[in-house]
């Protein structure tokens, strides 16, 4: 699989945008929602989530995160030739947001497109970006995960409104001498399309939480193992596991099923962020790096999964 590539790809910078407005569990209860902070925390691991202001959008948050990732990598807009936006929460389906983000960061004219694999989106987009670099289609790619999910939330639906939040994060992908982004293990299950999403004729995200929980805790362990196999390492050799921040209970069940040793740091960003769909994995990666618990070159397994159903994972080296 790796023998035919022109060169490897790696992540050279990470940037994030977290909206300033915090909405706590107590705030939700105070709004009249029939729930408690304790109930939400024990079922989900979430204490609060960020809510974008009226002036913040998938575009503005994504552009801010992209600019920060480019700055961290020390790359100018003129050096970027592709931008991929993973999102599922644009207010309007047409046009997509990638071109506007490219223009906003000063990279007008480059290839730009949106990719919708919902919560699985970031790992899908990262794989496409890495392949573009490996094959020489692109030199430097910005991959953005940006979501304003609160536009799609029914604040009276306590099965969903407690879970989701807004935010964006981005990475810069560029050529590398060694494998900085491993081959992707990805897949989908359209038979499960009704488990989570905006139903036909509805306007808000609905979810069968119990069914999603069962799917995530049983079907994704082999995907995680396969991503490690494709990268040529064992789960024991990982320095970190960066799963989609859907629910700490899902993450704990996955870690147990994978028998991850204590040495593997599990990224934990959900407590004050909630589930931010395609932004969740890069936001968790960004926080993990900032925490100092991992160092440059460490192998980390990313695993994104969600509505579709879609899932994708790959081993990366921490930039």
């Amino acid at each position: 699989m790796t023998a035919s590539v022109l060169r490897h790809a790696r992540i050279s910078g990470v940037g994030e945008h977290r909206p300033a407005q915090v909405l706590s569990n107590d705030d939700l209860a105070a709004k009249g929602l029939d729930t408690t902070d304790e109930w939400i925390r024990t079922r989900t691991g979430i204490s609060s989530r960020r809510v974008a202001a009226a002036t913040e959008s998938v575009i503005t948050m994504g552009a801010d995160a992209a600019a920060k990732a480019m700055a961290e990598a020390g790359v100018d807009a003129a050096e970027i030739d592709l931008l991929v936006l993973a999102t599922c929460s644009m207010r309007n389906a047409i046009p997509g947001g990638a071109a506007r983000i490219a223009s906003a960061v000063g990279a007008r004219g480059i290839g730009a497109f949106d990719l919708n694999a919902a919560c699985g989106g970031f790992s899908y987009a990262l794989s496409v970006a890495a392949d573009a670099v490996r094959c020489g289609t692109a030199q430097r790619v910005v991959v953005v995960g940006s979501e304003k999910l609160t536009d799609w939330i029914d604040w009276t639906d306590r099965g969903t409104c407690i879970l989701f939040g807004d935010g964006a994060a981005a990475v810069l992908v560029e050529p590398s001498d060694s494998m900085g982004i491993g081959p992707v293990a990805w897949g989908s299950d359209g038979d499960g399309h009704a488990l989570v999403g905006v139903p036909e004729g509805d306007w808000a995200i609905r979810m069968d939480g119990q069914a999603v929980f069962r799917w995530a805790t049983t079907e994704l362990t082999p995907v995680a193992r396969r991503a490690c196999e494709l990268a040529g390492i064992t789960t024991d050799e990982l320095a970190a596991f960066v799963p989609h921040q859907a629910n700490t209970r899902i993450v704990a069940a996955m870690a147990r099923a994978l028998r991850l040793p204590e040495s593997v740091v599990i990224a934990h960003d959900i407590a004050e962020t909630g589930n931010t769909s395609a932004a969740s994995v890069p936001l968790a990666l960004s926080r993990l790096i900032a925490s100092g618990q991992v160092k440059s070159g460490d192998p980390a397994l990313l695993l994104a999964f969600g509505a579709g159903l879609t899932y994708a994972g790959q081993v990366i080296r921490i930039p």
Binding site: Q210, F213, R214, T217, T218, A253
Partner: protein, 82 residues
């Protein structure tokens, strides 16, 4: 496998997933009210029991398994080799 074997196997699973002492997992106990096992832990217990006993416990049936005894009877009826 006897009913007692199923109970023992189930008790081990409940202990591993929810941290409930094995001795507390007796037939009359309610998972939610007595053992403090919530709906997500019930799903984990069900999937672990599926692997262990080689049975299927769909979500629709799972919600009817109120007590440990209900679960033992379900697993027995679902065709575990007795």
């Amino acid at each position: 496998m006897t009913e007692q074997d199923i109970l023992n196997g189930l008790a081990t699973i409940v202990n591993e997933i929810a941290g409930v002492p094995v001795g507390d997992v007796t037939p009359t106990k309610s998972f939610i009210d007595d053992l403090d096992v919530d709906s997500l832990a019930m799903v984990e217990i069900a999937t672990a029991a599926e692997d262990h006993f080689g049975v299927r416990i769909p979500d629709d049936d799972l919600k009817d398994l109120r007590t440990v005894g209900d679960a033992v009877a379900y697993i027995e009826k679902a065709g575990v080799a007795v």
